[in-house]
């Protein structure tokens, strides 16, 4: 059963929701937000797509198995903790580098951000694994 209203709205909503999720993810560095909530919004986007177009379409859109997303997320989060170890500090110690962008400007990036990106991916992966399996079971 496909609803025209839902499918049309989804086409417009998806990019905006994904943008919102990325915004929440990066805002979480110093303000309310973060990987968990951002991941939920992103997962919600794909769940909306699933309602509008069906499971198979969503799987095709994702291209990769959500489990792999979970694993990559875990790996990212773990890796950002290990950076501290490699530098001779305790696990999870924060480290920052500045990527120069020219004209004296630079992108200040650190392990807390990569950790949050890991969380973001884990939340997307885990939520989608659960929801898509449930949707397939119907």
């Amino acid at each position: 059963m496909k609803s025209v209203i839902l499918t049309t709205a989804t086409r417009y909503l998806m990019p905006m929701l994904l943008l919102l999720s990325a915004f929440l993810l990066f805002r979480g560095h110093n303000l309310p937000g973060g990987g968990f909530i951002g991941g939920l919004v992103a997962a919600g986007t794909f769940i909306l797509h699933n309602f509008a177009f069906g499971v198979e379409e969503t799987r095709r859109l994702l291209r990769i198995n959500p489990l792999v997303i979970t694993a990559v997320g875990l790996l990212t989060a773990m890796g950002s903790g290990v950076v501290g170890l490699l530098a001779g500090n305790p696990f999870m110690t924060g480290h920052w580098i500045t990527i120069p962008l020219g004209k004296g400007q630079g992108l200040h990036i650190g392990t807390p951000v990569t950790f949050d990106i890991g969380v973001y991916l884990v939340v997307i992966g885990a939520t989608l694994t659960i929801i898509l399996s449930l949707a397939e079971g119907e």
Partner: protein
């Protein structure tokens, strides 16, 4: 130090992630799973030798100083438990190669097995009570999955009981944590230990300790909170029951040991006497439950309960020697109990049943299995010179020394009853008449091929050999337990190591 303390948690996590990435290939998952377990065991042994040589070590995660950040700390007890946990992980994963079915392997047996090990090691190594709660949850989540994996009806029935009661326990734990934080303003165990010595309201501390006792009592299956255990442990596949039996309740006992030697020592006349009484009741009810059953794994499950009584008994007596006895008992018990569950799996494989009256004649059919069973079962019952004898000897001796005659008598009586129910398994499964082949409803057993046989028997021989070694060369193991108990009874070095460790 920093790396060594984190590795027992990181290795299982990395292994689990690698297994997830290799989701489609059973063979690769098996290889990764086994090598992860080997790596974990090696690290744990290094950790133990380091702690033995250098005393308590600590690491402040994220480089935040002690009472504010999360602390990882290992004293001897933590290190011993980590080694035991990793050793069981290693043995059981080898055993799984020969016994877990394809469907379970395909749906994430190996990743969740390693996540379980990660949770268990986290509990042992953390120095922060809230972090302890988090690790408990990690462990429980993975155990829920392992318990329900496969989705057979009895499994799900067991899982529902297990999940419900463990969630109740977690709720108690969290409530107690909230109150404690409100009172003390910190959840770092070393910091709390300092505050505990000068507690302004010892009455409140005692009340709070009861909340912790209930929470950890459910986890460690103390009387009267044990009923989730016999309801669920006989339902999942054998390797899963074996790792649960070896580790999960002992995690509860470990936390009891930790909390009631470090934090709640204001009123031992009340709290520790109560623990002692619970220990006695746990022993008796457990062994009576075991005697009334005729199914291999149910008998073993009830024995876990009665044995937990012994482990907690040392804590209740609260003398250095008794606590050493408890620790020695944990070492002995984890090895023996896991092994007995592994034996039950092979018995099932050979005869197609867990019921004692359908298992008869195993001593002719599988002499090697019989040897392993005899060593483990008689060790469990406490026959000299096996490891269980020394464990019980120390506990009973100490209770006589401090004139707790009632608990000594209970311990001896329960020991006798344990022997009786082990003899029942012996008589039913190993000595008894072989069942007739044309019985209705009998599942045709599948004799394992050579490679499977190696995977099944190698871990059993390893564990039985360890039991024998501990029994015949008790000295070094006892020295280890005594030193670990000394560290528990005199926590000053632990507190110092945690609060003053600077990266």
């Amino acid at each position: 130090m920093n790396t060594l303390l984190v590795l027992p948690i990181l290795i299982p996590l990395a292994t689990a992630v690698a297994c997830l990435l290799a989701w489609r290939s059973r063979t690769i998952q098996r290889i990764i799973g086994v090598s992860g377990a080997v790596g974990l065991l090696t690290t744990a042994l290094i950790l133990l030798t380091t702690v033995w040589r250098e005393g308590v070590i600590a690491s402040q995660l994220g480089n935040w100083p002690a009472p504010f950040g999360i602390t990882l700390a290992a004293d001897l007890l933590s290190a011993i438990m980590t080694v035991l946990g990793s050793l069981m992980g290693f043995s059981v994963i080898i055993y799984s190669l020969g016994s877990i079915d394809r469907r379970r392997e395909a749906y994430g047996y190996y990743p969740f097995f390693h996540l379980l090990l990660m949770g268990v090691n986290g509990v042992f190594l953390t120095g922060d009570l809230f972090n302890l709660y988090v690790w408990f949850e990690v462990m429980l989540m993975s155990s829920f999955v392992l318990l329900a994996l496969g989705g057979e009806k009895p499994q799900l029935e067991g899982a529902i009981k297990y999940v419900t009661l463990n969630l109740i326990s977690s709720a108690f734990f969290l409530t107690a944590l909230g109150i404690l934080y409100g009172m003390a303003g910190t959840l770092n165990m070393a910091d709390l230990a300092v505050l505990a010595k000068e507690a302004k309201y010892p009455g409140v501390a005692t009340t709070l300790s009861m909340l912790f006792l209930v929470a950890f009592g459910i986890k460690s299956a103390l009387f009267p909170l044990f009923f989730w255990l016999p309801a669920s442990y006989h339902t999942p596949p054998v390797p899963v029951s074996a790792i649960f039996a070896g580790l999960l309740t002992k995690v509860g006992v470990y936390t009891l040991l930790r909390v009631f030697t470090l934090l709640f020592i204001q009123n031992p006349g009340y709290t520790h006497t109560l623990i002692l009484a619970l220990a006695g009741l746990t022993m008796v009810t457990g062994v009576l439950g075991a005697m009334s059953h005729n199914e291999f794994r149910r008998i073993l499950s009830f024995h876990i309960i009665s044995q937990v009584g012994y482990m907690v008994m040392g804590l209740g007596l609260f003398t250095p020697l008794a606590v050493a006895g408890s620790i020695f008992y944990i070492i002995h018990h984890i090895i023996v109990k896991t092994n007995l569950f592994l034996v039950s799996g092979v018995a099932h494989r050979l005869q197609g049943s867990f019921e004692l009256d359908k298992l008869g004649g195993l001593s002719h059919k599988a002499p090697a299995l019989t040897v392993v069973f005899v060593i483990s079962a008689f060790s469990l019952a406490g026959i000299p010179p096996l490891s269980g004898f020394w464990a019980k000897y120390v506990l009973v001796l100490n209770s006589l020394q401090i004139e707790s005659y009632l608990i000594a008598a209970t311990a001896l009586l329960v020991s006798l009853l344990t022997l009786f129910s082990m003899a029942k398994i012996w008589a039913g499964a190993f000595w008894g008449e072989a069942p007739s082949d044309n019985e209705p409803g009998r599942i045709e057993p599948s004799p394992p091929d050579l490679l499977t046989k190696v995977a099944l028997y190698a871990p059993m021989f390893l564990l039985a050999g360890l039991t024998l070694t501990i029994g015949l060369m008790t000295e070094p193991f006892m020295a280890l337990a005594v030193r670990a108990a000394d560290q528990l009874m005199n926590p000053a070095p632990y507190i110092q190591a945690v609060l003053e460790s600077r990266p």
